[in-house]
Subunit: 438 residues, 2 copies
């Protein structure tokens, strides 16, 4: 696509922008590229932090590995001449001043915490590329109009806790929630060097952030199967989660006749199957998952008296999630009632769906085209920090292919060429945003 094509394909919002300015940004930085080897070396260094014998990454939020990864990232920020700090919510921020006074900051970044036995790319590719973008600008002594902030949001995996604090969507009561580390969110934030008592100071208001641009692996199969280099994210699905508690009656597994049992795990089994059936039976791209289950007391010779499990529902439409939940809850109650057990649903998190800013999408397409890369629009089935920030600022997201579409496992993989392509698109989209956004 030539510049004239780009020019005519600009979104209506962009048509207000001075086209001369666009042209000069394009030409001035045409030769600028990130140092791909540096990104890959740092990615390998990060891959040693929290790695288990099985090869998975266990940089669970608030674990010692999480802290170790954050220390490494702060060191990299210093290399990139960023001025680092930790906000009250425990997010790491690396700042670079802008040339034009009074402009709001452009935020770039992602997260480095992982699920248990996760992969090395999820979140980390975006964080290391954001630092690389800042470092290239520092090395080439290129200034931006806006201040630039590289941000590492804490605890993305368990519910976007860091980015929700920034968008004002984290309440003091959320601080009492447990996390997989064993710490509460409050204790976790303290562990990372944040100050939960001053949580409100981490909040940014509408207008304080010009735009948030996140770069991430797709974690799904679309780009690879379509053979496309760069994904331009249309929107991020909403993610609602519940803790589901089933109470039956615990008893001896040998002496209690089959017809005298209130086995909570039998109810849970039928419920898990029902979640799967209901989500599949509804037309659309929604997904539903039970990923965690705890059975009490949990011995082979005891009938389970209590089961606690997680329910995760995702779609681009909040209403559809609500309808699916109602159907699932009704079916859960029906199943529990058949043996006199009870089932209760406690909503543990709500992340509304978020659309990306059309002007930002267009600039990502432009940057990819300029670099000779193919691109396409797609939805994000995974939750991302950008989703939280969408409440207070325009957002954009860049995806690259994930091999076999897999993520959250040690087999997660993205090719070196794709990682570096994505970082270059990241750099050039940033420069365009800096030139065109106010």
């Amino acid at each position: 696509m030539s510049y004239s094509d780009i020019s005519t394909s600009l979104s209506p919002a962009l048509e207000k922008v001075d086209r001369f300015a666009v042209a000069s940004v394009l030409s001035a930085n045409r030769g600028l590229l990130v140092d791909g080897s540096r990104i890959m070396d740092r990615l390998q260094a990060m891959a040693q932090i929290g790695r288990s014998e099985q090869g998975g990454i266990n940089r669970i939020a608030y674990s010692s590995f999480d802290l170790e990864g954050r220390r490494y990232v702060i060191d990299l920020m210093h290399d990139a001449e960023l001025e680092t700090s930790i906000d009250a919510a425990g997010n790491i921020i690396g700042k670079r001043a802008g040339a034009e006074p009074g402009l709001p900051a452009i935020l770039i970044g992602s997260h480095i915490d992982s699920v248990p036995e996760g992969g090395i790319y999820d979140g980390t590719v975006g964080v290391l590329s954001a630092i690389e973008v800042a470092q290239i600008l520092a090395e080439r002594k290129l200034s931006t109009r806006h201040p630039l902030e590289v941000i590492v949001f804490q605890n993305e995996e368990e519910g976007l806790f860091g980015s929700r604090a920034v968008s004002g969507d984290l309440s003091p009561s959320d601080l009492n929630l447990p996390s997989q580390s064993g710490k509460t969110i409050r204790e976790g934030i303290e562990y990372l060097g944040g100050n939960p008592e001053k949580l409100a100071t981490a909040r940014r208001r509408v207008g304080e952030i010009a735009v948030y641009l996140e770069y991430h692996i797709e974690q799904g199969p679309v780009l690879e199967s379509e053979g496309v280099d760069i994904g331009v994210v249309e929107g991020i699905v909403g993610v609602n989660r519940w803790e589901v508690t089933i109470e039956g009656f615990s008893n001896h597994a040998g002496t209690t006749p089959m017809n005298g049992r209130k086995d909570a795990l039998i109810v849970a089994a039928k419920f898990i199957d029902a979640v799967n059936c209901i989500v599949r039976a509804t037309p659309g791209l929604q997904v539903g998952t039970v990923g965690r289950i705890r059975v009490l007391p949990g011995a082979p010779n005891v009938i389970p008296g209590k089961v606690i499990l997680s329910l995760d529902l995702r779609d681009l439409e909040s209403d559809k999630i609500e309808r699916l939940y109602q159907e699932i809850a009704d079916e859960g109650n029906r199943i529990a009632a058949t043996i006199g057990a009870t089932i209760t649903f406690k909503q543990t998190s709500v992340q509304g769906p978020a659309l990306t800013e059309p002007r930002v999408r267009q600039l990502i397409f432009d940057a990819a085209n300029e670099l000779g890369l193919t691109s396409m629009m797609l939805r994000s089935g995974a939750g991302h920090d950008a989703q939280a920030i969408a409440r207070i600022a325009p957002i954009g997201m860049i995806f690259i292919p994930s091999q076999d579409g897999i993520s959250h496992t040690p087999r997660e993989y993205s090719r070196r060429v794709d990682i570096i392509n994505g970082a270059n698109v990241y750099l050039h989209t940033l420069l365009k945003l800096d030139a065109l956004f106010s």
Copy 2:
């Protein structure tokens, strides 16, 4: 029932016995009773060892609470003038000499280890009553013909490890099995003061034990619902256990379409439901339970890639257990194949069914009748140490009612009067056995 009724109702096996001897045992000890308050006080003392805030007993084998309970029991044995030792398998043995040289020992006892959040009666009632029987004999200076051994078998709950060592049914490789304490069986035995390297020395041969008599709470609903004081156990069901491993494929819960998943927990859910259906669909009193489940990696936002669960099948007929298992395994394979997952079954323990000795049953009936108590025959749905000892010696078991038939929970309860009744039947059955068995 009068003595003449008893005399005519003696089993064929007993008819060989000298009826004059039976009559003299009956008359000589008619007034002898256990000290019921002492049993109950000690039961309350034991109820403090391993009690959680929720009120359950957590005297899990090889835990510090288990050790504490054993120390208390050893002290009680010393009060009862028993000579204590710990065999190589970690069982506690309290010995009292017999009057007649060359006779094999009569064993009485049970276990004090518990399931997680178990009750205070399971096992402990039998152990404390056995010590009480020995103490009453010591206090009244009554000698028995046979040597008497009060035995506390270690780790009953996870698979009769202590009693299986005594019966020669524990192999060196079993020592490497894990236990809920986090220790292997070997480490657990060492922790208790046993010597796993000399395991064979704990083994008893056929002929070394005249009879093993165990007293236990029913842990089921039969005696209470029939309004009967004493249960005479006909047999103990066989208990076979498997560790079932389901392997699917772990992936991101947001980006993986429903029809592209290999969710191991969906397979597990259908499997657990199938176990329940198959066991219920077969005529008879067999039971089947999935009591433990572990999901990996175990996060709300990750599709489960692997599930490990327990399968416990029980019946009085080994063949029936085998047929049920085959049906369950076939169905498990069919379910797993529908989504391309795999399922494997590893047998972790086999405890064959065991019938009690008809002569011993008869003497329990006799003792109950003498004490003015009602009695009935019933099967034991729970596994017991007597089951292991049945390989090498005649066994008998005495049951008392469990309120609501519940066990393995903090709500497990047996009435004081029933506990003391059972202990008196225990004492008098022992005296009859001593007189009549060679």
